[in-house]
């Protein structure tokens, strides 16, 4: 789904987004990471979607996570509740993209 179509559709309680939809979301998430987290020299294509975002992998911390939350909210027009900002949702680009797909 394009983002415009997703805004016109009512939110669905069950995640039914297509693989293509999640892939596109993942590309946008990677771009948000590069643009918002000031990671020197990082390009979107260098980010492994299944790799951990925190600790190892990109080595992001709690403030990076929250920065990404605000960026995701703005980009996708969704609201993320505080109790949803958990390690599972944000454990990787892939898990975050699946979460977003279920929301748009």
């Amino acid at each position: 789904m394009s983002s415009l179509e997703s805004e016109l559709q009512p939110p669905e309680p069950i995640q039914t987004a297509s693989c293509e939809g999640i892939a596109e979301i993942a590309e946008r998430v990677k771009r948000l990471i590069v643009e918002n987290l000031h990671l020197d020299g990082l390009q979107p294509e260098m980010i492994d979607e299944e790799a951990p975002l925190f600790g190892e992998g990109l080595g992001l911390d709690s403030v990076d996570a929250l920065e990404l939350v605000v960026a995701v909210e703005k980009e996708f027009g969704i609201k993320i509740k505080s109790n949803e900002i958990g390690r599972e949702v944000f454990s990787s680009v892939a898990s975050l993209s699946r979460f977003i797909a279920g929301r748009v």
Binding site: H38, D40, V63, L66, E67, V70, K74
Partner: protein, 409 residues
């Protein structure tokens, strides 16, 4: 109490060498044109500021570490690392409970708090960046120095306008003297983003020239036609420790901290200048007398005069009142070179105490007969035995620091 290391960054670059050369020549570093397109500035107001070349900080604060630091945090951490190296200390010496960090800032990470306010107003409060907020607090630079150096002793950030830098050194010296720390990293930091520059201009704080006049504005300390300060950014950090500790590790002091004092002029208006010079002068004398220092023993003054109409008048008045009928010793006005804010004055005062030569006072052309103070004209002076650094802040505070030359016992 001695100062064993100096780290400083500013428009002159990184390190005290370039600053010392500028002071010796009496020529300020090149000022940078400030972006006035957002419309905060007055139409014929200030156009330039003395800004640190931020790219030069990368040697001290690598990009991976700097990525989440506000500009003042980067400036402060760079200066702290420089100071530690200059003091001959290793990182392992500084890490631990024994190192206190006391810095002063006038405006804090203003670019970040301004950006947050823009987000709130234009995008709504929920669009606010957590990263910007975490680095927008006045104590962010002090906290980042502690994190960078592992300094786990007392950690304080002072905000007292132009008097903050000398207060921070005094507070740090007191902490070491009271045994709360073995050493302290003390100093000052400020950034000077365009919006802050514009608002200062609007307040009438900044030096300015007629609209179509060529060249840049100057801060003219004590000059009859002074009309404001030249704003600067930067950071200066000193390493303070007891004379005994320095001697134990064979570190040669740059200067001894002999005395300090501070006072307040309640006749000042908020962010303004009062008429309390006589009382401030008496407070300065009392502060020196408490430490057994006769005013006549002070043979050099590093004045915080900066070209502010009211500030320089107050400064001249309190110095004249403190010295009474006696003639003032030579008065240096380093802010002619360093500008106002950013800690340059502190570095310049320390250099003067350590014997660095000063050239003529840049920007000074004509004495103001109402002040009765004429700043240094560049003639050769012997290194001082006792140098008094003096600063007055808008809003009423004043602070002093007495430094003795490094070789003194």
């Amino acid at each position: 109490m001695v100062i064993t290391g100096l780290g400083t960054v500013g428009a002159w670059g990184c390190g005290s060498g370039a600053l010392a050369r500028a002071l010796a020549a009496g020529v300020p570093p090149a000022a940078t044109a400030v972006d006035r397109s957002a419309g905060y500035h007055r139409r014929c107001g200030a156009r330039r500021a003395l800004l640190t070349p931020m790219a030069a900080l990368a040697e001290w604060v690598p990009p991976a570490e700097a990525r989440r630091m506000s500009p003042p945090s980067r400036l402060a951490v760079a200066a702290a690392r420089m100071a530690i190296g200059a003091a001959g200390l290793a990182a392992a010496d500084v890490a631990g409970l024994g190192t206190a960090v006391v810095t002063a800032t006038v405006f804090g990470p203003s670019s970040f708090s301004d950006a947050l306010l823009l987000q709130i107003v234009h995008e709504g409060p929920q669009a606010v960046s957590p990263y910007l907020f975490s680095e927008s607090v006045a104590n962010a630079p002090t906290a980042q120095i502690a994190i960078a150096c592992g300094a786990r002793g007392p950690n304080l950030t002072l905000c007292q306008g132009e008097a903050g830098a000398l207060l921070a050194v005094a507070r740090a010296a007191a902490a070491v003297m009271e045994g709360r720390a073995e050493r302290a990293l003390a100093g000052a930091v400020d950034e000077m983003p365009a919006m802050l520059h514009g608002l200062l201009d609007r307040f009438g704080t900044l030096a300015h020239r007629p609209c179509r006049a060529p060249g840049g504005e100057s801060g003219r300390p004590f000059d009859r036609r002074r009309n404001g300060v030249v704003a600067a950014d930067g950071a200066t950090i000193l390493v303070l420790e007891t004379a005994a500790a320095a001697a134990r590790r064979g570190a040669a002091p740059l200067a001894h901290v002999r005395a300090w004092g501070s006072a307040f002029d309640p006749s000042a208006s908020t962010a303004g200048w009062g008429s309390g010079a006589p009382a401030l002068g008496r407070s300065l004398r009392r502060a020196m007398e408490r430490r057994g220092v006769a005013m006549g023993a002070i043979d050099r003054i590093a004045s915080g005069a900066s070209g502010s109409r009211g500030g320089d008048r107050l400064e001249a008045g309190l110095l004249r009142a403190a010295w009474g009928d006696a003639a003032l010793p030579p008065v240096l006005a380093p802010k002619a070179v360093t500008g106002e804010y950013g800690g340059g004055f502190l570095a310049a005062a320390l250099l003067a105490a350590a014997g660095a030569p000063y050239g003529p006072t840049a920007g000074f052309a004509e004495p103001d007969p109402r002040l009765g103070v004429v700043p240094h004209d560049g003639r050769r002076l012997p290194p001082p035995a006792l140098l008094l650094a003096s600063s007055v802040a808008a809003g009423g505070a004043a602070a002093w620091l007495l430094l003795a030359a490094g070789g003194a016992g």
